[in-house]
């Protein structure tokens, strides 16, 4: 199959609150190829979670998608009816969340919850459903799967619970999985396990993944390409290795520099000065300008995405390029 | 970002937006004023026996009595002008409600904060007692206390307080416990400041919002409970008829069509209670962080 499995163009999601319009997602575009893992990185409030929800059409009121297109396997999702959209959720695109204790219903067994997810899209006999569920639990690394189906979520550890959630997300072999901070709530030692498990799964099943995280270090070990978000926009995107080695946008550079791994021992950690802006009252022009070391008067107008081969950045003064080499 | 307004003003601005709540608040204030100035506003003093004439008893609304004025709401079995009786009754009902509410607030808050602050056995003991009391219906408790102690204003307030202090205690305890664990309290306690000062200046103010909410609800409950007790004949003595007693007086006459004796005091009671509850609801919604979008 040629062409990207997921194609997002100018996705814009606004929240119409009492206090004003919150432009949570403001013109986000990217493509995802089959089996590709993309990292969506940003601080809290950058709009990355809302982007994930928008892809599945799960934006809660008072928010809604106001503009843009989301094409999954060639079908436009934003114009689908609720029924058609629901048909695709879980089957062609699914999502896992940050805290597995909150996503699994404590009063139903794992087996029951998996059966519910199965029944949403297929008619299976109980025996077939149990078999498929057990098969998937084994695939995500849960031993004695058949017996574990009768267990309740609180009988599992945090890492195991997240594996169950992943198993549920994979039940119908979707083309895309959106993972919203899936390892943030887990112990560091478990994080690595889950990371590699998911990478292997993606390779095995050909499922593409969008890994949403605020942790650049975690994502970059897994994703083949990155998109960095700030104040609702993607400010830079491109192949992971290239971005890490040679960032263009000052924000990306700042993120990389502030990683503890990058710090020289004995010196204070580098920080990006200032705080993320309130999405209610964004200044005109580049939203990062107030915190940017490279900012000039030019930055009071909105920079567009500059494309260069397989990467792009939204900046009038990208770092790493000789001055004057900008659009 | 801050527009130099005090928390009170911000509270009021948001409160203002709910028009129903504002109307309710006006109604409550109005009724309090009516109660306060009952003696001035009433066309007749219903407790001055000299004013009453049995000839006027049980007359329908609009009747012109021997005093020469129109009884807008009719008269009761003793010949009292119902409108006046309602104003005086309002006074008593509000009095009792506020008194019971205030005393419950004081006792309950003290117990709750004490339990949260001291901890250990004292905490366990106090909260066990509070929990037991909370699961016991207020009306039964009040019934029992009145039955054992006899009738009278003080006894009634005592009964109401016993039935309600637990709500305040539990709320104060919850809020104080949350504050107790916070670092700034530990820090304050490490200073030479007396413990009492720490509680008074730091823990107490943070417990105030939920206590205000409970207070409004409980005042309405006190009024309702007192009315119920009076209706059953177990409330205040006959010399101080509250709205509940007025309603009870009129009950036997309802079957024969003389509805006004019960209905109008009842309407006054309902308006009072519902208005307080609406205000309380709005206050609660505004203080509840989880509902704020």
């Amino acid at each position: 199959m040629s062409g990207p499995v997921l194609s997002v163009t100018n996705l814009t999601t606004h929240f119409f609150t009492r206090a004003g319009v919150v432009k949570a997602v403001d013109g986000v575009s990217f493509d995802l190829a089959k089996g590709e893992i993309m990292g969506l990185v940003g601080e809290s409030g950058s709009g990355k979670t809302v982007t994930g929800f928008s892809l599945l059409g799960l934006v809660d009121a008072p928010g809604r998608i106001v503009e843009g297109s989301v094409k999954l396997n060639g079908t436009e999702l934003t114009t689908l009816s609720n029924t058609d959209l629901r048909d695709r959720r879980g089957r062609e695109i699914s999502m896992i969340f940050q805290d597995p204790i909150a996503t699994l219903n404590p009063m139903l067994t794992i087996g029951q919850q998996m059966k519910l997810a199965l029944d949403a899209h297929e008619r299976l006999s109980t025996r077939a459903a149990l078999a498929r569920s057990a098969e998937l639990l084994e695939q995500v690394g849960i031993p004695s799967a058949a017996a574990r189906l009768r267990a309740y979520p609180h009988e599992f550890s945090g890492g195991m619970r997240q594996r169950v959630a992943i198993a549920i997300a994979l039940l119908h072999r979707p083309a895309v999985i959106v993972a919203d901070e899936p390892t943030t709530a887990l112990d560091v030692s478990i994080q690595a396990q889950i990371l590699y498990q998911m990478r292997d799964l993606a390779a095995e099943t050909g499922t593409a993944m969008i890994w949403i995280s605020h942790d650049l270090a975690v994502v970059s070990s897994l994703a083949s390409k990155l998109a960095v978000m700030y104040a609702g926009r993607i400010v830079e995107q491109g192949p992971t290795a290239t971005l890490l080695r040679d960032p263009r946008h000052p924000y990306t550079a700042g993120l990389i520099a502030s990683l503890p791994a990058m710090a020289k021992p004995g010196t204070p950690l580098t920080q990006i000065p200032g705080t993320t802006p309130s999405l209610l009252s964004l200044p005109p022009g580049c939203p990062f300008a107030p915190r940017c070391t490279e900012a000039t008067d030019r930055c009071s107008t909105d920079p567009q995405m500059t494309l260069d081969d397989d990467r792009g950045w939204r900046c009038f003064h990208p770092v790493g390029l000789p001055e004057g080499a900008t659009a | 970002m801050s527009d130099a307004s005090t928390p009170l003003r911000r509270f009021w601005v948001e409160f203002r937006e709910n028009r129903i709540a504002v109307v309710a608040l006006i109604v409550v204030v109005l009724m309090i004023l009516l109660a306060l100035f009952a003696s001035i506003v009433s066309p007749q003093n219903p407790y001055d026996l000299a004013n009453l004439s049995l000839m006027d008893s049980r007359r329908p609304p609009g009747f012109v009595g021997s005093g020469g004025y129109t009884h807008i709401l009719g008269t009761d079995p003793q010949g009292r002008d119902l409108l006046s009786a309602i104003f005086y009754g309002l006074r008593i009902s509000i009095q009792i409600g506020l008194a019971a509410g205030f005393v419950s607030l004081t006792i309950g808050t003290t117990l709750g904060i004490l339990a949260a602050y001291v901890g250990g056995r004292v905490e366990a003991l106090i909260m066990r007692m509070v929990d037991l009391q909370l699961s016991f219906p207020a009306i039964l408790l009040a019934l029992v206390i009145v039955a054992l102690l006899g009738q009278g204003k003080a006894q009634l307030i005592g009964a109401l307080v016993a039935a309600q202090y637990a709500y305040f205690a539990r709320t104060a305890y919850g809020a104080a416990k949350a504050e107790r664990g916070k670092d700034y309290i530990e820090a304050a306690l490490a200073t030479p400041l007396s413990a009492r000062l720490v509680v008074w200046r730091h823990m107490l103010p943070n417990c105030t919002p939920p206590l205000i909410v409970v207070a409004t609800v409980q005042i309405a409950n006190s009024i309702s409970l007192e009315a119920t007790l009076s209706f059953l004949g177990l409330g205040l003595p006959v010399t101080e008829p509250s709205l509940g007693m007025l309603i009870s007086n009129g009950f036997p006459y309802m079957m024969s069509g003389r509805y006004w004796i019960s209905v109008y005091p009842g309407v006054a009671l309902i308006i009072l209670i519902v208005a307080i509850n609406i205000v309380g609801d709005q206050v609660r919604d505004q203080f509840n962080p989880r509902l704020r979008k």
Partner: protein, 324 residues
């Protein structure tokens, strides 16, 4: 799970013991214990004779012991007014109260939870707003007033339903119940509605708050992301999750409803235990009062115990004594 049951049972026993002590010493300390067993208008000779006969001149703990042993044997004293054993008296009137309370509580819960879930699921529809506004009324209006209005409207003005009393009864398992008969039903409707109103309002508000909160959780989001239909989510997730707070309040409110039955029974002249206690307080029939308190305490403890059991049944975390 067995350990859980035993633990709760022991707690119940302890509470009962404490309650009996409180009731006994309360009456002893506040009232004159003689008044419990002897009508207030007895002569001095009779009093002294009774004091000796009943051992009231003995030390307190001995009296308490006698009290408890009598209690165990089902002897709760004799009523002054009716001159019959209190146990018999209460027993005779209990079915009336029970059927009133049960019918009210069950209908209030079923209706209230349904309406509340709807109001919580679609909070902005005008139906929901109406439901909530009406629930405020049900909540704040004193129940005796509602009873009055009901009588005024349906009995006096419209004449559809009787204004009081209990209807014809039919014996099931040796106990007279009135709801199986048409006449009985017509008598039970108004008091049941009166009694149910408060609980209905509570359940509506509770179900609504619970629904709103639950629908915003990740559990629901995850279920939606998996493609479950809204109907399935409501049925399999919401109902299960909401059952915990509902059942808690149900248990608490059951006791409260028993208490409010006192008022309803008085207004509608319903011959139940509630009316009995009000009448007894009015004439100071103390044996009945004491017995009533013990009975209520017992009911409370039993209800709480049963609710705890139900929790263990429906919430797997409780079953496994989970601390996970």
């Amino acid at each position: 799970m067995l350990g859980f049951i035993i633990q709760r049972f022991m707690q119940a026993v302890v509470v009962m013991a404490v309650m009996s002590v409180i009731v006994f010493f309360g009456v002893y300390a506040i009232g004159n214990p003689i008044d419990i067993v002897i009508p207030p208008d007895a002569t001095q000779d009779i009093r002294e004779e009774a004091i000796r006969r009943l051992g009231l001149d003995r030390p307190l703990y001995e009296q308490y012991f006698i009290f408890i042993t009598n209690l165990m044997q089902g002897d709760l004293g004799r009523s002054f007014v009716y001159n019959m054993p209190v146990l018999e008296l209460i027993g005779g009137r209990l079915p009336a109260t029970l059927e009133l309370v049960l019918i009210s509580v069950i209908s209030a819960t079923v209706l209230g939870v349904s309406l509340g879930i709807y109001a919580g699921y679609r909070p902005d529809s005008w139906i929901s707003k109406t439901i909530m506004a009406v629930s405020v009324l049900g909540f704040s209006v004193p129940s005796f007033w509602v009873g009055l209005i009901l009588i005024l409207a349906f009995a006096v003005n419209l004449g559809w339903l009787p204004a009081g009393g209990r209807g014809e009864t039919v014996e099931i398992w040796g106990v007279p119940w009135s709801f199986p008969t048409l006449d009985g039903l017509s008598h039970i409707v108004l008091p049941a509605v009166n009694l149910a109103l408060f609980k209905l309002a509570m359940m509506i508000r509770l179900a609504r708050a619970g629904t709103r909160e639950i629908m915003l959780t990740d559990t629901i989001k995850f279920a939606r992301a998996a493609g479950l239909s809204e109907a399935t989510i409501l049925r399999r997730h919401l109902l299960k999750l909401i059952s915990i707070p509902i059942i808690t309040v149900f248990g608490l409110e059951l006791g409260s409803t028993l208490a409010f039955a006192v008022v309803t029974e008085t207004i509608f002249s319903w011959p139940g235990v509630g009316k009995l206690i009000i009448d007894s307080i009015a004439v100071l029939d103390r044996p009945v009062m004491v017995a009533y308190l013990i009975l209520v305490a017992f009911l409370f403890v039993t209800i709480n115990f049963v609710i705890d059991l139900v929790f263990a049944l429906i919430d797997p975390r409780v079953r496994h004594g989970a601390s996970a």
